[in-house]
Protein backbone atom coordinates (compact mmCIF):
# COMPACT_ATOMS: atom_id res chain seq x y z
CA UNK A 1 0.00 0.00 0.00
CA UNK A 2 1.54 3.32 -1.03
CA UNK A 3 2.26 5.60 1.93
CA UNK A 4 0.55 8.99 1.88
CA UNK A 5 2.28 12.17 3.04
CA UNK A 6 0.67 14.61 5.44
CA UNK A 7 1.91 18.04 4.40
CA UNK A 8 -0.51 20.48 5.98
CA UNK A 9 -2.42 20.70 9.24
CA UNK A 10 -5.33 22.97 10.07
CA UNK A 11 -6.93 22.85 13.48
CA UNK A 12 -9.76 24.64 15.22
CA UNK A 13 -9.70 23.31 18.76
CA UNK A 14 -10.61 24.15 22.35
CA UNK A 15 -6.90 24.67 23.08
CA UNK A 16 -5.92 26.69 20.06
CA UNK A 17 -6.51 27.67 16.47
CA UNK A 18 -3.87 26.65 13.96
CA UNK A 19 -1.10 24.09 14.11
CA UNK A 20 1.38 26.06 16.21
CA UNK A 21 -1.04 27.25 18.89
CA UNK A 22 -2.60 23.81 19.12
CA UNK A 23 0.72 21.97 19.45
CA UNK A 24 2.18 24.43 21.90
CA UNK A 25 -0.89 24.24 24.15
CA UNK A 26 -1.04 20.47 23.86
CA UNK A 27 2.61 20.03 24.82
CA UNK A 28 2.22 22.39 27.75
CA UNK A 29 -0.45 20.06 29.08
CA UNK A 30 -3.20 22.66 28.71
CA UNK A 31 -6.80 21.51 28.57
CA UNK A 32 -9.74 23.25 26.95
CA UNK A 33 -12.12 21.75 29.48
CA UNK A 34 -13.96 24.36 31.54
CA UNK A 35 -17.06 24.56 33.66
CA UNK A 36 -19.93 25.73 31.50
CA UNK A 37 -22.03 28.60 32.73
CA UNK A 38 -25.78 28.25 33.29
CA UNK A 39 -25.79 24.57 34.12
CA UNK A 40 -28.36 23.54 36.73
CA UNK A 41 -26.97 22.45 40.07
CA UNK A 42 -26.21 18.78 40.34
CA UNK A 43 -25.61 18.27 36.63
CA UNK A 44 -22.20 17.71 35.03
CA UNK A 45 -20.82 21.07 33.98
CA UNK A 46 -17.52 20.39 32.23
CA UNK A 47 -16.97 20.62 28.49
CA UNK A 48 -14.23 21.64 26.08
CA UNK A 49 -15.76 24.43 24.06
CA UNK A 50 -14.14 26.28 21.19
CA UNK A 51 -12.89 29.74 22.02
CA UNK A 52 -14.81 32.53 20.38
CA UNK A 53 -13.28 32.61 16.99
CA UNK A 54 -14.10 34.52 13.87
CA UNK A 55 -14.35 31.94 11.14
CA UNK A 56 -14.87 34.96 8.94
CA UNK A 57 -11.16 35.69 9.27
CA UNK A 58 -10.37 32.51 7.38
CA UNK A 59 -13.24 32.36 4.95
CA UNK A 60 -13.33 34.41 1.77
CA UNK A 61 -16.36 33.25 -0.18
CA UNK A 62 -19.54 35.32 0.22
CA UNK A 63 -21.50 32.09 -0.28
CA UNK A 64 -20.55 31.07 3.19
CA UNK A 65 -22.46 33.77 5.04
CA UNK A 66 -25.25 31.23 5.55
CA UNK A 67 -22.95 28.42 6.57
CA UNK A 68 -23.54 26.80 9.93
CA UNK A 69 -20.91 26.84 12.70
CA UNK A 70 -19.72 23.29 12.06
CA UNK A 71 -19.21 24.02 8.36
CA UNK A 72 -17.39 27.24 9.24
CA UNK A 73 -15.07 25.36 11.58
CA UNK A 74 -14.26 22.83 8.88
CA UNK A 75 -13.80 25.43 6.15
CA UNK A 76 -11.52 27.46 8.41
CA UNK A 77 -9.51 24.32 9.19
CA UNK A 78 -9.29 23.57 5.46
CA UNK A 79 -7.97 27.05 4.73
CA UNK A 80 -5.43 26.77 7.54
CA UNK A 81 -4.30 23.36 6.33
CA UNK A 82 -3.83 24.44 2.74
CA UNK A 83 -1.86 27.49 3.83
CA UNK A 84 0.22 25.29 6.11
CA UNK A 85 0.97 23.00 3.18
CA UNK A 86 1.82 26.02 1.03
CA UNK A 87 -0.63 24.92 -1.60
CA UNK A 88 -3.49 26.61 -3.38
CA UNK A 89 -6.38 25.09 -5.32
CA UNK A 90 -4.80 26.57 -8.45
CA UNK A 91 -1.40 25.01 -7.79
CA UNK A 92 -3.04 21.60 -7.30
CA UNK A 93 -5.62 21.91 -10.05
CA UNK A 94 -9.20 22.32 -8.84
CA UNK A 95 -10.32 19.06 -10.43
CA UNK A 96 -7.62 17.10 -8.64
CA UNK A 97 -8.22 18.49 -5.17
CA UNK A 98 -10.51 16.17 -3.21
CA UNK A 99 -12.30 16.68 0.07
CA UNK A 100 -13.30 14.08 2.65
CA UNK A 101 -15.15 15.20 5.75
CA UNK A 102 -16.20 13.11 8.74
CA UNK A 103 -18.81 14.11 11.27
CA UNK A 104 -21.22 12.30 13.54
CA UNK A 105 -24.10 14.79 13.75
CA UNK A 106 -23.03 17.81 11.74
CA UNK A 107 -25.03 20.92 12.44
CA UNK A 108 -27.15 19.30 15.14
CA UNK A 109 -27.96 22.54 16.96
CA UNK A 110 -29.58 24.03 13.88
CA UNK A 111 -31.40 20.74 13.29
CA UNK A 112 -32.94 21.09 16.72
CA UNK A 113 -33.78 24.75 16.15
CA UNK A 114 -35.31 23.88 12.79
CA UNK A 115 -37.53 21.21 14.35
CA UNK A 116 -38.52 23.46 17.22
CA UNK A 117 -39.87 25.97 14.71
CA UNK A 118 -41.60 23.24 12.73
CA UNK A 119 -43.41 21.90 15.77
CA UNK A 120 -44.23 25.21 17.42
CA UNK A 121 -44.91 27.45 14.44
CA UNK A 122 -45.87 25.04 11.70
CA UNK A 123 -44.57 24.08 8.29
CA UNK A 124 -45.08 27.50 6.73
CA UNK A 125 -42.65 29.14 9.12
CA UNK A 126 -39.63 26.82 9.09
CA UNK A 127 -36.45 28.46 7.88
CA UNK A 128 -35.69 27.65 4.23
CA UNK A 129 -32.21 29.01 4.78
CA UNK A 130 -31.46 26.62 7.60
CA UNK A 131 -32.56 23.41 5.91
CA UNK A 132 -29.64 22.98 3.48
CA UNK A 133 -27.23 23.18 6.42
CA UNK A 134 -28.79 20.15 8.02
CA UNK A 135 -27.44 17.55 5.61
CA UNK A 136 -24.20 16.06 6.83
CA UNK A 137 -22.38 16.98 3.61
CA UNK A 138 -22.99 20.70 4.00
CA UNK A 139 -19.46 21.28 5.31
CA UNK A 140 -17.83 19.45 2.41
CA UNK A 141 -19.98 21.38 -0.03
CA UNK A 142 -19.14 24.72 1.56
CA UNK A 143 -15.45 23.76 1.52
CA UNK A 144 -15.66 22.99 -2.19
CA UNK A 145 -17.42 26.32 -2.80
CA UNK A 146 -14.88 28.21 -0.72
CA UNK A 147 -11.93 26.69 -2.55
CA UNK A 148 -13.55 26.36 -5.96
CA UNK A 149 -12.53 22.72 -6.17
CA UNK A 150 -14.44 20.13 -8.14
CA UNK A 151 -12.55 16.98 -7.26
CA UNK A 152 -13.89 13.90 -5.49
CA UNK A 153 -15.97 15.01 -2.51
CA UNK A 154 -17.18 12.58 0.15
CA UNK A 155 -18.73 12.90 3.59
CA UNK A 156 -18.46 9.97 5.96
CA UNK A 157 -19.77 9.19 9.40
CA UNK A 158 -18.75 6.49 11.85
CA UNK A 159 -19.58 7.67 15.34
CA UNK A 160 -16.45 8.51 17.29
CA UNK A 161 -14.28 7.37 14.35
CA UNK A 162 -15.65 9.87 11.87
CA UNK A 163 -12.36 11.80 11.76
CA UNK A 164 -10.07 8.78 11.29
CA UNK A 165 -12.38 7.32 8.64
CA UNK A 166 -12.41 10.54 6.64
CA UNK A 167 -8.61 10.45 6.62
CA UNK A 168 -8.57 6.76 5.67
CA UNK A 169 -10.96 7.38 2.78
CA UNK A 170 -8.93 10.41 1.73
CA UNK A 171 -5.74 8.34 1.56
CA UNK A 172 -7.51 5.70 -0.49
CA UNK A 173 -8.83 8.30 -2.95
CA UNK A 174 -5.23 9.27 -3.68
CA UNK A 175 -4.12 5.66 -3.96
CA UNK A 176 -6.99 5.02 -6.39
CA UNK A 177 -5.89 8.11 -8.33
CA UNK A 178 -9.22 9.80 -7.88
CA UNK A 179 -7.44 12.86 -6.50
CA UNK A 180 -3.87 14.17 -6.29
CA UNK A 181 -4.37 16.07 -3.04
CA UNK A 182 -7.10 15.54 -0.48
CA UNK A 183 -8.18 17.74 2.39
CA UNK A 184 -9.33 15.18 4.95
CA UNK A 185 -10.68 15.54 8.44
CA UNK A 186 -13.90 16.69 10.01
CA UNK A 187 -15.66 18.43 12.85
CA UNK A 188 -18.45 18.24 15.38
CA UNK A 189 -20.07 20.62 17.82
CA UNK A 190 -21.14 20.62 21.44
CA UNK A 191 -24.89 20.40 21.74
CA UNK A 192 -27.55 20.03 24.38
CA UNK A 193 -28.84 17.00 22.47
CA UNK A 194 -25.60 15.08 22.76
CA UNK A 195 -24.99 16.19 26.33
CA UNK A 196 -28.50 15.16 27.33
CA UNK A 197 -28.07 11.74 25.76
CA UNK A 198 -24.75 11.05 27.48
CA UNK A 199 -26.21 12.34 30.71
CA UNK A 200 -29.32 10.23 30.48
CA UNK A 201 -27.20 7.15 30.13
CA UNK A 202 -24.94 8.37 32.94
CA UNK A 203 -21.83 8.34 30.81
CA UNK A 204 -20.51 11.76 31.79
CA UNK A 205 -17.77 12.20 34.35
CA UNK A 206 -19.02 12.64 37.89
CA UNK A 207 -22.38 11.00 37.33
CA UNK A 208 -21.36 7.76 38.94
CA UNK A 209 -19.50 9.39 41.78
CA UNK A 210 -16.17 11.11 42.14
CA UNK A 211 -14.88 14.49 41.02
CA UNK A 212 -15.87 15.67 37.61
CA UNK A 213 -12.73 15.60 35.47
CA UNK A 214 -11.22 14.11 32.32
CA UNK A 215 -8.34 11.71 32.84
CA UNK A 216 -7.95 9.22 29.99
CA UNK A 217 -6.33 5.92 31.00
CA UNK A 218 -6.11 7.00 34.63
CA UNK A 219 -7.12 4.42 37.24
CA UNK A 220 -9.57 6.93 38.76
CA UNK A 221 -11.22 8.02 35.53
CA UNK A 222 -14.95 8.14 35.93
CA UNK A 223 -16.62 9.19 32.70
CA UNK A 224 -16.56 11.24 29.57
CA UNK A 225 -16.20 14.98 29.15
CA UNK A 226 -17.52 16.27 25.84
CA UNK A 227 -15.86 18.74 23.50
CA UNK A 228 -16.00 20.20 19.98
CA UNK A 229 -13.76 21.30 17.15
CA UNK A 230 -12.41 20.38 13.77
CA UNK A 231 -9.26 19.59 11.87
CA UNK A 232 -8.27 19.09 8.26
CA UNK A 233 -5.10 17.41 7.01
CA UNK A 234 -3.53 17.88 3.59
CA UNK A 235 -2.81 14.48 2.09
CA UNK A 236 -0.77 13.84 -1.06
CA UNK A 237 1.51 11.18 -2.49
CA UNK A 238 4.95 11.10 -0.90
CA UNK A 239 6.53 11.45 -4.34
CA UNK A 240 4.63 14.63 -5.08
CA UNK A 241 5.39 16.03 -1.62
CA UNK A 242 9.11 15.37 -2.01
CA UNK A 243 9.17 16.71 -5.55
CA UNK A 244 7.88 20.07 -4.40
CA UNK A 245 10.07 20.15 -1.29
CA UNK A 246 7.11 20.18 1.09
CA UNK A 247 7.44 19.66 4.81
CA UNK A 248 6.14 16.17 5.46
CA UNK A 249 4.86 15.96 9.01
CA UNK A 250 4.34 12.24 8.75
CA UNK A 251 3.58 9.46 6.34
CA UNK A 252 0.42 7.42 6.65
CA UNK A 253 1.60 3.95 5.79
CA UNK A 254 -1.80 2.26 5.81
CA UNK A 255 -4.88 1.72 7.93
CA UNK A 256 -7.14 -1.16 8.78
CA UNK A 257 -10.74 -1.01 9.76
CA UNK A 258 -12.97 -3.74 11.14
CA UNK A 259 -15.66 -4.46 13.68
CA UNK A 260 -15.72 -6.22 17.00
CA UNK A 261 -18.78 -7.43 18.86
CA UNK A 262 -20.22 -4.81 21.19
CA UNK A 263 -23.48 -4.19 22.99
CA UNK A 264 -25.72 -1.94 20.93
CA UNK A 265 -24.69 1.72 21.10
CA UNK A 266 -22.02 0.92 23.67
CA UNK A 267 -18.28 0.41 23.68
CA UNK A 268 -17.09 -3.19 23.71
CA UNK A 269 -16.01 -4.35 27.13
CA UNK A 270 -13.18 -6.32 25.63
CA UNK A 271 -11.92 -6.38 22.06
CA UNK A 272 -9.75 -9.49 22.27
CA UNK A 273 -10.95 -10.62 18.82
CA UNK A 274 -9.30 -7.53 17.39
CA UNK A 275 -5.82 -8.40 18.67
CA UNK A 276 -4.80 -10.92 15.99
CA UNK A 277 -6.09 -8.60 13.28
CA UNK A 278 -4.17 -5.64 14.63
CA UNK A 279 -1.05 -7.71 15.05
CA UNK A 280 -1.33 -8.97 11.47
CA UNK A 281 -1.80 -5.39 10.30
CA UNK A 282 1.32 -4.20 12.10
CA UNK A 283 3.35 -7.13 10.84
CA UNK A 284 2.42 -6.09 7.32
CA UNK A 285 3.23 -2.43 7.71
CA UNK A 286 6.08 -2.18 10.20
CA UNK A 287 9.68 -2.66 9.15
CA UNK A 288 10.99 -5.63 11.06
CA UNK A 289 12.33 -5.68 13.71
CA UNK A 290 11.38 -2.09 14.67
CA UNK A 291 8.11 -1.77 16.53
CA UNK A 292 5.63 0.92 17.42
CA UNK A 293 7.03 3.73 19.56
CA UNK A 294 3.81 5.58 20.31
CA UNK A 295 0.09 4.82 20.33
CA UNK A 296 -2.38 7.69 20.18
CA UNK A 297 -5.57 6.09 21.38
CA UNK A 298 -9.17 7.26 21.51
CA UNK A 299 -9.44 6.85 25.29
CA UNK A 300 -11.88 9.45 26.55
CA UNK A 301 -11.88 8.91 30.31
CA UNK A 302 -14.77 6.43 30.23
CA UNK A 303 -14.22 3.38 32.42
CA UNK A 304 -15.02 0.99 29.63
CA UNK A 305 -13.42 2.38 26.48
CA UNK A 306 -10.09 3.21 28.08
CA UNK A 307 -9.91 -0.20 29.70
CA UNK A 308 -10.87 -1.90 26.46
CA UNK A 309 -8.13 -0.10 24.57
CA UNK A 310 -5.45 -0.95 27.11
CA UNK A 311 -6.56 -4.57 27.15
CA UNK A 312 -6.49 -4.79 23.36
CA UNK A 313 -3.13 -3.07 23.06
CA UNK A 314 -1.65 -5.30 25.77
CA UNK A 315 -2.70 -8.34 23.76
CA UNK A 316 -1.24 -6.87 20.61
CA UNK A 317 2.14 -5.81 22.02
CA UNK A 318 2.69 -8.39 24.71
CA UNK A 319 6.10 -7.97 26.26
CA UNK A 320 6.97 -5.10 23.96
CA UNK A 321 4.28 -3.00 25.63
CA UNK A 322 6.65 -1.68 28.26
CA UNK A 323 8.51 0.18 25.54
CA UNK A 324 5.46 1.66 23.85
CA UNK A 325 4.34 5.16 24.81
CA UNK A 326 0.57 5.53 25.12
CA UNK A 327 -1.41 8.74 25.11
CA UNK A 328 -4.78 10.27 24.24
CA UNK A 329 -5.60 13.94 23.71
CA UNK A 330 -9.23 13.76 24.80
CA UNK A 331 -8.30 15.24 28.18
CA UNK A 332 -7.35 18.40 26.32
CA UNK A 333 -10.09 18.58 23.67
CA UNK A 334 -12.94 16.48 25.05
CA UNK A 335 -14.84 13.76 23.22
CA UNK A 336 -16.78 14.36 19.99
CA UNK A 337 -17.43 12.46 16.77
CA UNK A 338 -14.68 13.94 14.65
CA UNK A 339 -12.13 14.21 17.49
CA UNK A 340 -10.08 11.52 15.75
CA UNK A 341 -9.07 14.09 13.15
CA UNK A 342 -7.39 16.07 15.92
CA UNK A 343 -5.85 12.90 17.31
CA UNK A 344 -4.40 12.30 13.85
CA UNK A 345 -2.96 15.82 13.83
CA UNK A 346 -1.36 15.19 17.22
CA UNK A 347 0.07 11.87 16.06
CA UNK A 348 1.63 13.49 12.97
CA UNK A 349 3.16 16.26 15.04
CA UNK A 350 4.36 13.73 17.61
CA UNK A 351 6.39 11.83 15.02
CA UNK A 352 7.53 15.05 13.40
CA UNK A 353 8.76 16.68 16.60
CA UNK A 354 9.57 13.42 18.38
CA UNK A 355 7.51 14.41 21.36
CA UNK A 356 4.90 12.36 23.23
CA UNK A 357 1.80 14.51 23.74
CA UNK A 358 0.81 14.57 27.42
CA UNK A 359 -2.07 12.86 29.16
CA UNK A 360 -4.14 15.42 31.04
CA UNK A 361 -4.63 14.74 34.74
CA UNK A 362 -2.86 11.39 34.50
CA UNK A 363 -1.58 10.01 37.81
CA UNK A 364 -1.42 6.26 37.44
CA UNK A 365 -2.81 3.57 35.15
CA UNK A 366 -5.02 0.61 35.92
CA UNK A 367 -3.18 -2.14 37.79
CA UNK A 368 -0.99 -4.15 35.53
CA UNK A 369 -1.26 -1.90 32.50
CA UNK A 370 2.20 -2.33 31.01
CA UNK A 371 2.62 0.72 28.79
CA UNK A 372 4.82 3.77 29.06
CA UNK A 373 1.89 6.07 29.69
CA UNK A 374 2.46 9.67 28.75
CA UNK A 375 3.01 12.12 31.59
CA UNK A 376 1.20 15.32 32.33
CA UNK A 377 3.73 17.30 30.30
CA UNK A 378 5.22 16.53 26.93
CA UNK A 379 8.20 14.22 26.77
CA UNK A 380 10.87 14.04 24.09
CA UNK A 381 11.36 10.57 22.80
CA UNK A 382 12.67 8.65 19.86
CA UNK A 383 9.53 8.19 17.78
CA UNK A 384 9.71 6.65 14.33
CA UNK A 385 6.49 4.65 14.15
CA UNK A 386 3.16 5.55 15.67
CA UNK A 387 -0.26 3.97 15.72
CA UNK A 388 -3.55 5.83 15.85
CA UNK A 389 -6.23 3.64 17.37
CA UNK A 390 -9.93 4.28 17.63
CA UNK A 391 -12.80 2.18 18.90
CA UNK A 392 -16.35 3.46 18.53
CA UNK A 393 -19.54 2.64 20.36
CA UNK A 394 -21.04 -0.30 18.47
CA UNK A 395 -17.63 -1.89 17.93
CA UNK A 396 -16.22 -0.28 14.79
CA UNK A 397 -12.43 -0.07 15.08
CA UNK A 398 -9.81 1.77 13.06
CA UNK A 399 -6.04 1.59 13.31
CA UNK A 400 -3.78 3.86 11.28
CA UNK A 401 -0.02 3.39 11.05
CA UNK A 402 1.86 6.65 10.83
CA UNK A 403 5.64 7.05 10.56
CA UNK A 404 8.26 9.71 10.54
CA UNK A 405 9.02 10.96 7.05
CA UNK A 406 12.18 9.45 5.61
CA UNK A 407 15.09 11.81 5.22
Amino acid sequence: MRPIAVTGLGIVSPIGIGRQDFWEALCAGRSGIRARPNVAAGLPRLAAALPTFAARDFIRSPHLRRADPVSRTIVAAARLALADAQLTPESIGPERLGITVGSVLGDINESVEYLRRLFTKGAALVSPMMFPNLVLNAAASYTAMELGCTGANLTVSQGELSGEQAIAVGCDLIRAQRADVVLAGGGDTLSDVVTATYRRFRALSGQRGGTEWSSPYDAHRNGVVLGEGGAMLVLESTDAARARGATIYAEIVDHCSFGVAAPPYAWPRRAAAAAPRLRAFLERTLPAPAGVDLVCGSANSSRRLDGCEVDLLTRVFGEAAAGVALTSIKGAIGEFGAAGALTAVAACLAVHHRVVPPLCNFRRPDDGAPFRFAQRTAESRRIEQALILGIARGGATVAMHVRRAGE
Binding site: R56, R65, R66, A124, S127, P128, M129
Partner: protein, 94 residues
Amino acid sequence: MNHTELKKRLKRLLVDGLKLEGVDPESIQDAAPIFVEGLGLDSIDALELVVLVEEQFNVVIPDEEVGKLAFASIDALAQYIAQQQRAQAAQGGA
Protein backbone atom coordinates in the same frame (compact mmCIF):
# COMPACT_ATOMS: atom_id res chain seq x y z
CA MET B 1 -44.74 51.90 14.74
CA ASN B 2 -44.32 54.68 12.26
CA HIS B 3 -43.13 54.27 8.71
CA THR B 4 -39.54 55.35 9.41
CA GLU B 5 -39.24 52.91 12.28
CA LEU B 6 -40.70 50.15 10.13
CA LYS B 7 -38.17 50.70 7.38
CA LYS B 8 -35.32 50.75 9.88
CA ARG B 9 -36.57 47.49 11.32
CA LEU B 10 -36.86 45.93 7.87
CA LYS B 11 -33.29 46.84 7.02
CA ARG B 12 -32.14 45.29 10.27
CA LEU B 13 -34.20 42.19 9.48
CA LEU B 14 -32.61 41.91 6.06
CA VAL B 15 -29.09 42.08 7.43
CA ASP B 16 -29.58 39.90 10.50
CA GLY B 17 -32.09 37.48 9.05
CA LEU B 18 -30.14 36.81 5.87
CA LYS B 19 -26.77 36.92 7.64
CA LEU B 20 -25.42 39.68 5.43
CA GLU B 21 -22.13 39.93 7.22
CA GLY B 22 -20.44 43.27 7.09
CA VAL B 23 -23.42 45.09 5.57
CA ASP B 24 -24.51 48.19 7.48
CA PRO B 25 -28.32 48.31 7.55
CA GLU B 26 -28.19 52.08 7.17
CA SER B 27 -26.42 51.64 3.85
CA ILE B 28 -29.47 49.99 2.29
CA GLN B 29 -31.35 52.59 0.31
CA ASP B 30 -35.12 52.83 0.76
CA ALA B 31 -35.95 52.83 -2.91
CA ALA B 32 -33.19 50.57 -4.21
CA PRO B 33 -34.08 47.07 -5.46
CA ILE B 34 -33.54 44.48 -2.71
CA PHE B 35 -32.80 41.62 -5.05
CA VAL B 36 -29.99 43.05 -7.05
CA GLU B 37 -26.32 42.21 -7.63
CA GLY B 38 -25.01 44.37 -4.82
CA LEU B 39 -26.41 42.35 -1.92
CA GLY B 40 -25.80 38.99 -3.61
CA LEU B 41 -29.18 37.58 -2.63
CA ASP B 42 -30.54 34.42 -4.22
CA SER B 43 -33.73 32.38 -4.27
CA ILE B 44 -33.11 30.89 -0.82
CA ASP B 45 -32.83 34.41 0.58
CA ALA B 46 -36.13 35.27 -1.08
CA LEU B 47 -37.84 32.28 0.53
CA GLU B 48 -36.29 33.07 3.90
CA LEU B 49 -37.36 36.69 3.70
CA VAL B 50 -40.96 35.66 3.09
CA VAL B 51 -40.90 33.53 6.23
CA LEU B 52 -39.23 36.24 8.31
CA VAL B 53 -41.63 38.96 7.20
CA GLU B 54 -44.70 36.77 7.61
CA GLU B 55 -43.67 35.78 11.09
CA GLN B 56 -42.41 39.07 12.44
CA PHE B 57 -45.15 41.28 11.03
CA ASN B 58 -48.00 38.80 11.09
CA VAL B 59 -48.80 39.29 7.42
CA VAL B 60 -49.28 36.84 4.58
CA ILE B 61 -47.52 36.83 1.26
CA PRO B 62 -49.82 34.55 -0.67
CA ASP B 63 -47.81 33.88 -3.81
CA GLU B 64 -44.74 34.64 -5.83
CA GLU B 65 -46.38 37.44 -7.80
CA VAL B 66 -47.33 39.36 -4.69
CA GLY B 67 -43.91 38.58 -3.29
CA LYS B 68 -42.07 40.07 -6.23
CA LEU B 69 -43.94 43.34 -5.89
CA ALA B 70 -43.68 43.46 -2.12
CA PHE B 71 -39.94 42.79 -2.14
CA ALA B 72 -39.15 45.28 -4.90
CA SER B 73 -37.56 47.61 -2.33
CA ILE B 74 -37.62 48.52 1.35
CA ASP B 75 -40.19 51.20 0.51
CA ALA B 76 -42.40 48.66 -1.28
CA LEU B 77 -42.09 46.17 1.57
CA ALA B 78 -42.91 48.76 4.22
CA GLN B 79 -45.91 49.83 2.22
CA TYR B 80 -47.12 46.25 1.78
CA ILE B 81 -46.84 45.51 5.47
CA ALA B 82 -48.56 48.72 6.46
CA GLN B 83 -51.37 47.95 4.01
CA GLN B 84 -51.80 44.42 5.31
CA GLN B 85 -51.83 45.56 8.91
CA ARG B 86 -54.42 48.25 8.17
CA ALA B 87 -56.63 45.65 6.45
CA GLN B 88 -56.34 43.32 9.42
CA ALA B 89 -57.20 46.09 11.87
CA ALA B 90 -60.26 47.02 9.75
CA GLN B 91 -61.45 43.39 9.75
CA GLY B 92 -60.87 43.13 13.45
CA GLY B 93 -62.97 46.21 14.07
CA ALA B 94 -65.93 45.10 11.93
